[in-house]
């Protein structure tokens, strides 16, 4: 089907929120580089953070082809209120249990999102979704193994994982805050919508959480972490952007 102007707006909104999530989470996770719990994990987590930035770049490229700014400009020259990321990805890295559970909850959702997008009517996005499938599969494998390991660890480990899951889960629901163009995305076969994604996500994470000896919180309609998709962010996003763009802003025209 031919896309109308509104379909294109819907598509851009979808691309921006996905890319912004990946960019901000990639940056957050990269803050563990050199500070990770053990060398091997430090390398693995850093490498996955880099993957996230690569995924964001691929989506900013598509946006650029749709008439938006250059990927570097879009990534480094916007203020917080121009970002479409969800609150979950903005929160500081905290302790490792938080960073790991965020990585688990986010990447589990991303894996399903990319699986859905592999069938998208918008072929450039479907191609990107298929390209990163294996990469995301590894991220999920890494996250699942750790969640099980720590969930089934000693009393302290198990307790911390459950507490952190309880506080992280409502934030993760913010990933699925419906955008302004859900109906258009579904109608044009671009993406089946945030609600469909959320329901599949709950089905996918439940067995992993349970096999880790943890309990999945049961408030699925909590909207306390909504707002990110419409430019309303936590107090943590702007300082992150200031730090991330510090070097770029010294000379935006520099050749790297």
């Amino acid at each position: 089907m031919e896309y109308t102007e509104k379909h294109v707006l819907a598509l851009k909104e979808l691309l921006y929120k996905m890319a912004d999530d990946q960019l901000i989470l990639g940056h957050r996770n990269s803050e563990w580089t050199g500070l990770g719990p053990i060398l091997e994990e430090d390398i693995a987590f850093s490498s996955m953070a880099q993957d996230k930035i690569g995924q964001a770049q691929a989506l900013y490229e598509i946006l650029h082809e749709l008439g938006e700014g250059e990927p570097d400009t879009v990534a480094f020259m916007r203020n917080a209120e121009q970002f479409h990321c969800c609150h979950l990805v903005e929160i500081p890295i905290g302790e490792y249990d938080f960073s790991l559970l965020r990585h688990f909850l986010f990447d589990r959702a991303e894996q399903i999102r990319f699986d859905m997008l592999a069938q998208s009517s918008f072929e450039p996005l479907a191609q990107v979704a298929r390209k990163f499938r294996g990469e995301i599969k590894y991220h999920v494998m890494h996250a699942d193994v750790w969640v099980k390991q720590l969930g089934k660890g000693g009393a302290e480990s198990h307790g911390r994982m459950q507490d952190t899951l309880n506080s992280c889960f409502p934030m993760a629901l913010g990933i699925f805050e419906p955008g302004p163009y859900e109906a258009e995305l579904i109608e044009a076969g671009i993406f089946p919508g945030e609600l469909a994604l959320r329901n599949k996500w709950i089905e996918a994470i439940r067995p992993v959480i349970e096999s880790a000896g943890l309990r999945l919180p049961d408030q699925f309609d909590d909207t306390s972490a909504y707002g990110g998709r419409y430019g309303s962010h936590t107090e943590y996003l702007q300082p992150l952007l200031d730090e991330m763009t510090e070097v770029f802003r010294i000379d935006p025209a520099a050749e790297w």
Binding site: L35, I38, I43, A44, S47, Y138, V145, W146, Q149
Partner: protein
């Protein structure tokens, strides 16, 4: 005195400069797993190094990023180091005479002269 670093992450970690750090006990770490990777299906796996991990599943997760982050790989093996049965270096003398056994080396046989002579006879 909290360490002030050019790296904002270090400053944020609020590390006390005066605080003394105790090194970890030497054995207070995960055991090692040997990692083998395969570049192409059908080729033999080759040993590429070790990872520290609490179990085989995590060893595999670590091995993937340590050893196949760059370059081609289609398959990985991890084996707990203490499950590998090894020779002792004090028994290295069992290998000592090997370099002298030239009759086991294909290149030790000078057959080209004879092949050449045979070919010449056939042509004649």
């Amino acid at each position: 005195m909290i360490i002030q670093s050019l790296d904002p992450r270090v400053t944020r970690a609020r590390i006390d400069q005066e605080k003394e750090f105790q090194p970890l006990d030497q054995l207070d770490q995960f055991e090692t797993y040997e990692v083998f990777h395969q570049k192409k299906r059908g080729q033999q796996h080759s040993h590429v190094g070790i990872v520290h991990a609490p179990n085989a599943e995590l060893a595999m997760v670590f091995a993937k990023e340590q050893y196949s982050r760059r370059g081609q790989c289609v398959n990985l093996w991890v084996v707990r180091t203490r499950d590998v049965f090894i020779t002792e270096y004090e028994d290295a003398d069992i290998f000592e005479t090997t370099p002298a056994k030239l009759h086991r080396e294909a290149e030790s046989y000078k057959v080209m002269d004879r092949i050449q002579a045979y070919k010449e006879r056939q042509e004649a």
